[in-house]
Amino acid sequence: MLTIKNLHASIEGTPILRGINLEVKAGEVHAIMGPNGSGKSTLASVLAGREEYEVTEGEVIFKGKDLLELAPEDRAREGVFLAFQYPVEIPGVSTTNFLRTAVNQVREYRGLPALDAVKFLSVMKEKMKLVEIDQKLLSRSLNEGFSGGEKKRNEIFQMAMLEPTLSILDETDSGLDIDALRIVSNGVNQLKSDKTATIVVTHYQRLLDYIVPDYVHVIYNGRIVKSGTKELAMELEEKGYDWIKEEVNAASV
């Protein structure tokens, strides 16, 4: 579904990603871990098409298409979803109104008829249960004054509404207490299928107890320096990242 080959990207002339290679197949869950500042969010942003990042080398193929050629909205319409680490506030625009615009634009791109208000609300009701989100929250201005947990829950709710094929969750666990973590993970798990894939960005193994990854990758200094299975995450939890840094630094001498 997704093939990333030798991806290099920089911001304001500073290289951040320095040759990422990754293959994600339908039905898989990949966890991306790594110390703060290693480039995890940058990778997520580049995949989603944030303009500030300049791709200097490499390619990304998504469902057979050159993803980097597509505008960010078209990537979304093709099925790429990013749950933001820091969701943005839009004053005066309710989540409901925002999502209705989004869902119908995505549907139009996919050749589906627009949902009328009644149909939209019934779909919404159904998806609300997935993340146990309250109708009241959805009527408020998007993310304005939301608690950290509410924001993250709202991101997963949006994911449920947009039915993406590739979901990238950037630190969705941060700021969640244990109950919220369970609810959010539960939502993500229910949305998984053999036709979709998930990339979970986190630096705690905690989340991976709930969303069990098929593969775990460690990013350090803009490269994937280690890949493994769930056991790798356990090892990181136990030993931290220093041993990986040492390994990488030793190898580069």
Binding site: A48, G49, R50, E51, E52, A71, P72, E73, R75, A76, R77, F81, L82, F84, P87, V88, E89, I90, P91, G92, V93, N97, F98, L99, T101, A102, V103, Q105, V106, Y109, S141, Q158, L162
Partner: protein
Amino acid sequence: MSKDNKILEELTSKDYEHGWSVDLETDDAPIGLNEGIIRWISAKKEEPGWLLEWRLKAFNNWLTMTEPVWANVHYPKINLQGLRYYSAPKNSNKPKSLDEIDPELLQIYERLGINLNEQKRLQGIAVDVVLDSVSVGTTFKETLSKLGIVFCSFSEAVHKHPELVKKYLGSVVPMTDNYYAALNSAVFSDGSFCYIPTGVRCPMELSTYFRINAANTGQFERTLIIADEGSYVSYLEGCTAPQRDENQLHAAVVEIYAGKNAEVKYSTVQNWYPGDKSGKGGIYNFVTKRGICAGDHSKISWTQVETGSAVTWKYPSCILKGDYSIGEFYSVAVTNNYQQADTGTKMIHIGKNTRSRIVSKGISAGKSQNSYRGQVQVMKRATNARNFSQCDSLLMGDRCGAHTFPYIDIQNSTAKVEHEATTSKIGADQLFYCNQRGISTEDAVALIVNGYAKEVLNQLPMEFAVEAQKLLALTLEGSVG
């Protein structure tokens, strides 16, 4: 009399003879402005003597006045002698009913969300249409007259309700008020008139649509709304003009009178032609709007969505004379390309326990300049006056400007006046967030802007609000990315 004035007078009295020589059969006044033209207009409309006198007095006042220059707008001087001051659709073409109005015109109205056909009329909005200088038709007259409500063209009111016109004309905006108001008082052609009798709640929205059609024609309409004791009315005003290379002048006057316990809501969606992308053409919109809360516990509320015109100069105001009276001003002013807007309000607190609320949302894009100018005045007698002002500016790009000029004048120490102001930009973060959800940049801008303006749009009657939203999006098309 100064020498200049003498010369002027000589010139005008000369032109006056010339003015009379014009064939009354034609429906266009000759180009130019002088006493003769004013007599011509008045005669054309078969006005009573007192009104002609009133016009002439206004004209003579106007001659002594100079064009104001304090507003933050820049435009080449308008050649007032190069304009035509009256242009009626030719009798043969003049629609006898709304159903006969030019389909192209109907389309333009429809784009604005104004549907003049029967279906829409059934939804309960009474409409008066002003084409160029003349009111071409008013719907729902009979339903309204059963309640004693008068809603008709200004000219008709002059003939059928002279006592009301005589009593209130110029009572809120005196003919000497300002340069453009004086000019309007001299040459106004038509407009809408509305009277709601004591204790009557007008059961439908009353609405007027103004359209400038003819080239080189100034439009000077006059609107007078009188809400007698304990009455209520919601009034809508919409405007359009075709695209023309040359600038066209529009200088209207709106007067509102609210008696004891009366309430008037006045909503405007202004969509005059703003000029092209390079700043060529467009309407110069110099409007004087003022309401007086004459009685105790009365309320006047102005809501405006200003998207059009090359230059806008407009300050809908409230004189809060009655005790416990309330004035409100809700405004969204959008400027794009080379548009300039200097708009705001004046709240004049005279009565005790008077309250006013100002919510102004400016949106600037392109190379436009958007100024808010607001005055809150609390007079000596106005014990316990309250004002709250919220003035926000939203910038799109970095070549436009937003300016805020609040003036506060307090002569009573019990007054409480609060002013809040913010300036923000549409952030790349917000746009990217929308894009990531599959929303195009244009639609993202529309969504964000409508969210920003929501508090004001919420004040509009439902149908108007939806159309105003579309209009905002239309105005800002192509302003980002």
